[in-house]
Symmetry: C2
Subunit: 374 residues, 2 copies
Amino acid sequence: MSDLGALTTPSLLVDRTRVERNVARMGARIAGLGATLRPHVKTHKSIEVGRLQAAAGMRGITVSTLAEARAFAAHGFDDITYAVPIERGKFEAVAQMNAAGVRLAVITDDVTVPGPLGEAARQAGVTVDTWVKVDCGYHRCGVDPEGPSLAELARRIGERTHLRFAGILAHAGHSYQARGPTEILAVARSERDVMVAAAAHLASAGVPVPAVSIGSTPTAMGVDHLTGVHEVRAGNYAFFDVMQVTIGSCTADDCALSVLAAVVHRDPKRGTVILDAGGIALSKDAGIADADGVTHYGRVLDVEGRDLGLRVTSLSQEHGVVHVRDDALLTRLGVGARVRVLVNHSCLTAAQHAEYVVCEGTAIVGRWVNHRGW
Amino acid sequence: MSDLGALTTPSLLVDRTRVERNVARMGARIAGLGATLRPHVKTHKSIEVGRLQAAAGMRGITVSTLAEARAFAAHGFDDITYAVPIERGKFEAVAQMNAAGVRLAVITDDVTVPGPLGEAARQAGVTVDTWVKVDCGYHRCGVDPEGPSLAELARRIGERTHLRFAGILAHAGHSYQARGPTEILAVARSERDVMVAAAAHLASAGVPVPAVSIGSTPTAMGVDHLTGVHEVRAGNYAFFDVMQVTIGSCTADDCALSVLAAVVHRDPKRGTVILDAGGIALSKDAGIADADGVTHYGRVLDVEGRDLGLRVTSLSQEHGVVHVRDDALLTRLGVGARVRVLVNHSCLTAAQHAEYVVCEGTAIVGRWVNHRGW
């Protein structure tokens, strides 16, 4: 054990106690609602966090890259859904992983996919679980839940001897537009109800739906019941972040991820300090505006984690600009001072770093690898 | 040699022919203006690009992280300026690298730094070249070129037995606000003239200035003369990018960096396609608005590099959204189609990838490591 004072800056810090608490709470919550949790590991890409989620009762994982799938499979996670629509360049890798004993399921919303995907599976001698991606209101990907493509796609999958229609799957990304419990609940109900209705519609058209999968952190935190839903694929909740605080999914005390930074410049006349955490260390995700309308790149805390009431307001590659109006604070934040930036969007910031420095309070208790890349 | 069709997506592509041309042109340009070029390798973090720059006549390099300094030093680059203001957490590493035979110079704009920095140098038995960072109009870091701090800081450095006052250094980051040659030239002249005047002011106050260092890609491309300036630290020019096209530093044909991506979703009704290059593969740097006022995350080209007239308009972690109004184009961009995204801000996008796939046309001719981290 050492402490934060000796770390190089910038470094990515994760508070293990908070991760454990976040993970246990979501595990209990989804189990209590009668569904299973298949956490999206794209937020952390960390085997150790995956193991904490496994201990909290998850069933399988969700990934956003084949690199995540390979890394987790190499550590014994053998039930994986790759939740970016599949295309031909990844068919062979998916088939090979299935041939190696990993249940790597895929998603699609395109009628041209099942034919060649099924052929790749046949050649590898495997059956690939294939979900139909449904647009539950986010309007990014997915078929219309009320249109004819849904049944057609499910049938095309079912017709292929080496594909199995796994069910229908959606992500309520529009929950990030919500503010506060009432708006979150409205999106959560819509995500659930659209998908349960789509499953009923398919069943009445003669296409039984093995499973209904939904998920986003705000809706998973806010939904009132999950009748008709089989699994939830939330991910951000392991770390949370300032965006989730603003949405109303969590409090600042739940946020587990911060970047340790050093002050490298102070200008009393302009009332600014510059940190050595810039657009690479923090990511350039401006997230969503705070409740007061200010868009920023993270809140500034002291090393012990106390909020200094400051925000990182602009970034260049290795510089983060913080405006400081308070003279006493400006005096305290001399060149060489350390602060922590509570990150705006943990999924994006985590991916900027090769590893996590694992902390309990200000004590360093370990390092976790971030399995980046594609 | 293979070709782009077999690559996984997303992949970072670099056009070697364009890099060589860009590097040769800047080398000749700065030599012709009578100054030396100390390229900022933060853009590429690549030993191979550094070697191309060395072949084109550079003298030493500039870095934005100690990780870059270590990586380049390990490959024989022994004359390095670390151009982020130094703070106590890095004193020991800097002293150690100097002790190992690398001339690793630092910059500062803070009067509290020379004392303890000089002490760290003394303990390591080395002399550390130390520049005074001057604010030439960008207003990020640096001392006022007309204020009393400049001479005071130069004197404090000169007083330390184990520091050497290396000169004054500035970066005209405000050149990124310029549009077109006239505005670029105005910033370039101001960057040069402010610094030459500051050096004269210091000399008249009894502080000889060994060197004047300036640099940004737009000003290096646009400046009319460099009388009184010793070195130029441009970096982006090795790759250029869409931002530099918009500023007017280069043309689209100079841009060497793109991200190969696959279409994973197409919606004819909404007129959108989704790429598997999102906020991680491209970075979330929205750069500066195009001439038509549109802010975006890169231009979309076909695999051969022809501009399709499309832009990536929004991003999530592994998804990039492209709006396509043309029906024929939408038909062509089916799921599985490949495109290249000409990147908005090459420094930020490059740092999102562990390696470059080096191309000549559509042929793959090598791989270069990106030395990321801190």
